[in-house]
Amino acid sequence: MEVKVLFFGVLSEISGTSVKHYRDVKSISDLKLRIYDDFPEIVHYNYRISINSEITDNDLLLKSGDEVAFMPPFAGG
């Protein structure tokens, strides 16, 4: 299985990309560990997560094809 991860705002600069694919991640917490391994600096930032364009604070299970976004605090206007 594979999920698509989107990085926004300052997180896209830290990761050096706006999109990255991860294989064999079971849950949000699993994915976070993989991302912290790849980009340790991200752990210092506040962010919210959405799965398939729905914001969630829960550690949900992931399925193949899910789109998971890592979003720093919004700054529109």
């Binding site: 989107l6 926004f8 705002g9 300052v10 896209s12 600069e13 959405s50 364009s53 729905e54 914001i55 976004a69 979003m71 720093p72 919004f74 700054a75 529109g76 206007g77």
Partner: protein
């Protein structure tokens, strides 16, 4: 992915005049309230902001903007319509990056709902900005 809420670059005078033109057909409205957000040439650590580069999560912008409109319409019974346009990409100091246009039967709800829509946009719209300084260095906000 198309969106009704985002525009590339500054909110143009053409877009603004289209919305103003549309006012005349809203004969159930007695008041329109318009908010323009403009890029400010702030000075930070001795450097002047020349532009802001906006980025957005388009799919989520659509969902959140729809939610904001539903929230406002349920709270203000006199509001007839709400338009929201936010920029993506580079917007120079002095240019418009956000337009909120609220039409209502009467002035009080038009003004209150416009103000509350702007606050909800600030809190809920998945948009990010990078301040670009005159020396081309930048800072995420």
């Amino acid at each position: 992915m198309g969106t009704n809420y985002l525009t590339a670059g500054p909110v143009s005078q053409k877009l603004i005049s289209q919305l103003i033109k549309k006012m005349g057909s809203k004969t159930n409205s007695g008041g329109h309230s318009i908010f323009f957000g403009q890029v400010r040439a702030d000075e930070i650590d001795g450097k002047k902001v020349k532009a802001i580069e906006y980025s957005a999560y388009e799919e989520l912008v659509n969902a959140e903007a729809e939610m904001i409109k539903r929230t406002i319409l349920s709270e203000f019974s006199d509001v007839k319509s709400i338009d929201i346009i936010h920029s993506t990409g580079v917007v120079k100091a002095g240019e418009i990056s956000l337009l909120v246009f609220v039409s209502a039967g009467h002035r009080h709800q038009a003004m209150q709902a416009c103000s509350e829509t702007v606050e909800l946009i600030k809190d809920n719209l998945p948009v990010w900005k990078k301040e670009i300084f005159e020396d081309d260095s930048f800072k995420w906000k």
